[in-house]
């Protein structure tokens, strides 16, 4: 496997174990999510995170409590990385009242205030500016917190990126811009949309410190994010990370994937981010077969519990339609939808 045989490990045994269990849980939850979607347990879009687990995992392990996270619609794994039980994510997929957004947001809109998850956002690129704004508020309140603002390689083609980068640099906003660069925006590869295929270059035109990172290795993501977070937190302003990853599945569940070859997918599957950590655990005798089986059992139980919770939770009451639109409970809605 891709793990290098280093004698000295940069991280503790516990850190590797935590990464492994988190990432495996993401993998298993998403595999289950894909199956449930095919069984039509819920509708809407469904964008799986399979293959990209190291990105959010290494990001969260390198940031602190109080830091904020905002991302696009490929957001099922973020709650797990932040320590939220996946049953709430699953209930949201089911559109149940116990879901992370009370069943009102769905797959693309996972929010969790307590852990600083500022969404899941479905409009490509919108979160780039919002992430800077969230970090602006941290700076304003002098909290020392930062905001990790994730976006796809497709999202960076939106004009809002340039407006935001400029202001964020000029105002030294404590934000880390993170490109989850899986090389495709639906069926469009990076090199078909630009002549600047090294995405870290985009930051450089704003004098923004920028780096490309191997996103299949949680260790590399963690290290890069540690550097980026320190920089942003210290008042020096934004950082851009171009984290190179790969989605093993289609863009969403209805993608025939004619734009890439099987060989390409296989090449990246050989760098599976979950197996990368597993390999380190085994090589360093941090875990034996029994230990691995125990982790798998725990994860299976969590997945089952999540599905059961989602299945058994109630749907939102009809009256919920008229809540959370305005802050007021007695807002005078026009009632012409039912006779």
């Amino acid at each position: 496997m891709a793990a290098k045989k280093s004698t000295k490990l940069a991280f503790s045994k516990d850190q590797y174990l935590k990464w492994y269990e988190d990432m495996l849980l993401m993998r298993k939850i998403e595999e289950k999510t894909g199956q449930l979607y095919i069984q039509q347990k819920f509708g809407g879009f469904c964008h799986l995170y399979i293959g990209q687990e190291a990105v959010v995992t290494g990001t969260v392990s390198a940031t602190q409590k109080g830091d904020k996270h905002i991302t696009a619609y490929r957001d099922h794994a973020h709650p797990i990385a932040l320590g939220v039980h996946p049953k709430y994510m699953m209930a949201e997929l089911y559109g149940k009242s116990t879901g992370m957004s009370k069943g009102k947001g769905g797959s693309m809109h996972m929010f969790h205030k307590e852990t600083g998850l500022m969404g899941g956002h479905g409009i490509v690129g919108a979160q780039i500016a919002m992430g800077a704004g969230i970090a602006f508020a941290e700076q304003y309140k002098n909290t020392g917190n930062i905001c990790i603002t994730s976006m796809g390689d497709g999202a960076i083609r939106q004009g809002i990126l340039h407006e935001t980068f400029n202001m964020a640099m000029n105002w030294k906003i404590p934000v880390v811009f993170l490109i989850e660069n899986n090389n495709y925006a639906m069926g469009t590869s990076v090199d078909r949309t630009t002549n600047v295929t090294d995405l870290s270059e985009i930051g450089k035109s704003y004098n923004m410190p920028s780096k490309s990172v191997d996103g299949m290795k949680v260790t590399e993501v963690h290290e890069a994010m540690t550097w980026a977070a320190d920089h942003a937190r210290s008042g020096k302003g934004p950082v851009l990370l171009d984290i190179r990853t790969y989605r093993f599945k289609g863009h969403s569940m209805s993608d025939p994937q004619k734009y890439r070859t099987k060989e390409e997918v296989e090449k990246y599957k050989a760098q599976d981010p979950v197996l990368f950590v597993k390999d380190i655990l085994i090589k360093n005798k941090f875990i034996d077969d029994k230990g691995l089986a125990e982790i798998m059992d725990r994860i299976k139980a969590t997945v089952e519990e999540s599905v059961k919770f989602a299945e058994e939770s109630p749907s939102p009451e009809a009256s919920e339609l008229y809540k959370d639109i305005y802050v007021e409970d007695n807002y005078p809605y026009i009632m012409d939808n039912k006779f």
Partner: protein, 344 residues
Amino acid sequence: MKIVIKQCIFAGQNKNQNMRIIQFREAIQEAMTEEMRRDENVFLLGEEVAQYNGAYKASKGMLDEFGEKRVIDTPIAELGFAGIAVGAAMNGLRPIVEFMTWNFAILAADQIINSAAKMLQMSGGQFGNPIVFRGPNGTAGQLGATHSQSFEALYAMVPGLKVITPSNPYDAKGLLKAAIRDENPVVFMESESMYGDKGEVPEGEYVLPIGKADVKRVGTDCTLISFGKIMKVAFAAADELAKEGINVEVIDIRTIRPLDIDTIIESVKKTNRVVVLEESWPYASVSSEITYQIQSKAFDFLDAPVRRLTQSDTSFAFSKSLIAEALPGVEDVVKAVKASMYKL
């Protein structure tokens, strides 16, 4: 729900042409393809329109036929590519801009509203903007608040734009061809959940007039006005009411702006009762405008207040249970018609 086109009155068209059954997406593709063959200045651009054949396959085969020069994949940059198209339209080309959905066209609204709609007037008639902005609009199941919006009223409010929302493949093809030939900027709204709908479309060429409503079903007891995908609910309600001997006249306005108020008023004079059904929100909506015009032009002919049904006055939620509550159904339309006949 399956689309059933009831007795269609195809304004000014020869109904005896050889009919085929094709999908809505094929009707869109045919309209664009025929117009691109006819005029080399017509071209298509948008996200995933070329190599992927369109996110909803509405441009299938077009890259193969016309090549990369005329069927262009753009990055995800709605404001930028809409603006490039507006500029091209100022300078002799006739772009068709596909938005993956109208929800994302909100990013391009600046170019549509501030540039395209105003170019002719601001330049004192020197520069027109023959351009079509098209893509799916409205709700399509559990896609959540940002991906479920209907923006007809928003664009129809803007002088300088024409706005079209067809409800079936036949109208879609004829009206899209008219839109491409039109010298003004046209907003053309389809629906994700209509692309698979099948309907009769004749072999060969035809163009339908912009600004003409279509009486889809003749009736005497009440006028039911609607447009776009929710026409299906209107037809189903008319079917239900027919079982009880109530004959509803169903009008598909097809063009939101300019509105064919004459066809509406003519019908109101006959039935004296009106229900308007709209998929979008109620506030300052298309139904608000229709209702205003009816009361101002045919007040003396009304035997009951104009009633309307719209989506709930709320953002569209994800959960199925909330979606059911948000959208008016067949039952609601049936009741509204009966209420306007004092039969409830």
